[in-house]
């Protein structure tokens, strides 16, 4: 392709109406406590996987809420299901089951 000396960046914007929220929809049925997440980041701060990879449950819950699923699908298996995040969550989210449920949902996709 001829180089015209410029590039076009992809739109970073979350277009809420254009995204599918089926994963989050199933998730909140399987683990309703996920709705209580306030994105405080305690889970991600305590996460061992997060120390060595970019795994962040806080971020993944948010991405699924918006329907921006690809990053979650790519990374969700990095969790070792140790459950430390569950002990730390101030809102009582069953984070371990949130992750397992996401894994179940996306493996079916």
């Amino acid at each position: 392709m001829k180089d015209f000396g410029y590039t076009i960046n992809r739109d970073r914007q979350i277009d809420y109406d254009a995204l599918p929220r089926d994963v989050y929809h199933q998730l909140k049925k399987m683990e309703p406590s996920v709705n209580a997440c306030i994105s405080c980041g305690t889970c991600a701060a305590t996460c061992t996987a997060g120390q060595f990879t970019d795994f962040s449950l806080r971020r993944y819950i948010l991405l699924l809420r918006r329907g921006d699923n690809s990053e979650v699908i790519k990374n969700i298996d990095k969790c070792m299901l140790c459950g430390k995040c569950m002990l730390a969550c101030p809102m009582g989210v069953n984070t371990r089951n949130v992750i397992q449920s996401i894994q179940l949902i996306i493996n079916k996709l």
């Binding site: 914007q13 209580a36 306030i38 806080r58 948010l62 991405l63 918006r66």
Partner: protein, 354 residues
């Protein structure tokens, strides 16, 4: 019988008048509207326990008695202090001689027209929290301008609060919990609807507020997006496109909604400037609400002996706090009338030094 002038017949004014009359004083209420009750005439259910505002108003009205005289559609035109008495002239030429003055002029809701970028007064499907409250109070359904049930509703926090551009840098305190309360009420009326609250910070400071917030999240599936609305655009079908930054994801976000509800903040009531001038009171430079003699120990007294303040005229506060202040100020006024001395905090501190 000692006589007290109460300026403003809303929640604070009514509660204080009742308490003062029960303590054996006679009270004159000056109310600029054509009825007593202030905001209780406009609100539907009150947080945190969904008490109908009508019931609270009824309770207050049932306790009015012959020692309380209300002057409706009235304003103060002049006040002159003579020793310990105040000579008051009311519009229409009526004169009163009173021993103490209580200012309970309350607040107005922020004029949403000033946040032009949110489209209030321009787009039909943008309404305020105060308007929603009136719809709910009248038993009405929340409908779009075309008479359709809205599927998706955006609730915008901090409209006219914490915003230099709106001229108000302070937090109005009650809007966060009002948003959560109204979101739940909409979901009760429209269980199929999706509700999104756009916030900067959520301030659930009051007792049980956090529980209501959690209920909204889990039971009512209200969604909270941290990001302040930059602009609302109207689509050709009357729905609205909202643009925010989803600050927790660090990405811009756009979303279409059928209706927008603006959580309008509190500003000093329109005639409080007039009251300030004739009573020579002080207001705070950063918000325009009346300043107390001392924020901790004299929060219901002003620098002017014999002139007291209570309720939202001295800053945004909940109805619960307003009622508490009205009760407390009644005791303060009774003490003042008993001794006819108005101790300022500096005077008290001087005594301590001695």
């Amino acid at each position: 019988m000692k006589h007290i002038l109460v300026i403003g017949g809303g929640v604070a004014g009514l509660e204080a008048s009742i308490r003062l009359s029960e303590l054996g004083f006679s009270v004159s209420i000056i109310e600029q509207a054509d009825k007593l009750g202030g905001k209780l005439n406009r609100w539907d259910r009150l947080f945190p326990n969904s008490l109908p505002a009508k019931d609270l108003l009824q309770e207050l009205e049932s306790r009015l008695n012959s020692n309380i005289q209300a002057h409706l559609n009235a304003q103060i035109s002049a006040i002159q202090k003579n020793k310990n008495e105040f000579e008051v002239t009311i519009t229409g030429g009526l004169h009163l001689s009173v021993d103490a003055v209580l200012v309970t002029t309350g607040f107005e809701v922020f004029d949403a027209n000033k946040k032009e970028e949110y489209g209030y007064g321009i787009y039909d499907n943008v309404i305020t929290s105060a308007e929603l409250e009136e719809t709910l109070r009248n038993g009405g359904e929340l409908l779009t301008i075309d008479g359709k049930k809205p599927n998706r509703i955006g609730i915008i926090h901090c409209v006219g609060s914490r915003d230099e551009k709106a001229g108000n840098t302070y937090c109005s305190q009650v809007c966060c919990i009002t948003a959560v309360k109204q979101a739940i009420e909409i979901r009760e009326q429209l269980p199929e609807s999706e509700i999104f609250c756009f916030y900067m910070d959520l301030r659930m400071f009051g007792r049980h507020f956090e529980n209501i917030y959690k209920d909204a999240q889990i039971k009512h599936e209200v969604q909270f997006i941290r990001g302040r609305l930059s602009e609302a655009f109207e689509n050709s079908d009357g729905s609205l496109m909202l643009k925010v930054e989803d600050t927790l994801l660090g990405k811009p976000l756009k979303m279409n909604v059928d209706m927008v509800i603006l959580m309008v903040g509190m500003v000093p009531s329109a005639n409080s400037n007039h009251i300030k001038n004739i009573l020579k009171l002080k207001t705070a430079a950063d918000d325009g609400f009346f300043s107390p003699a001392d924020k901790h120990y004299e929060s219901l007294k002003t620098d002017m002996p014999g002139i007291f303040i209570a309720g939202a005229c001295s800053g945004p506060k909940t109805m619960e706090n307003t009622i508490n202040e009205a009760r407390a100020v009644s005791i303060q006024i009774a003490e003042y009338l008993k001794s006819n001395k108005h101790h300022s905090i500096t005077q008290i501190l001087e005594t301590v030094k001695l």
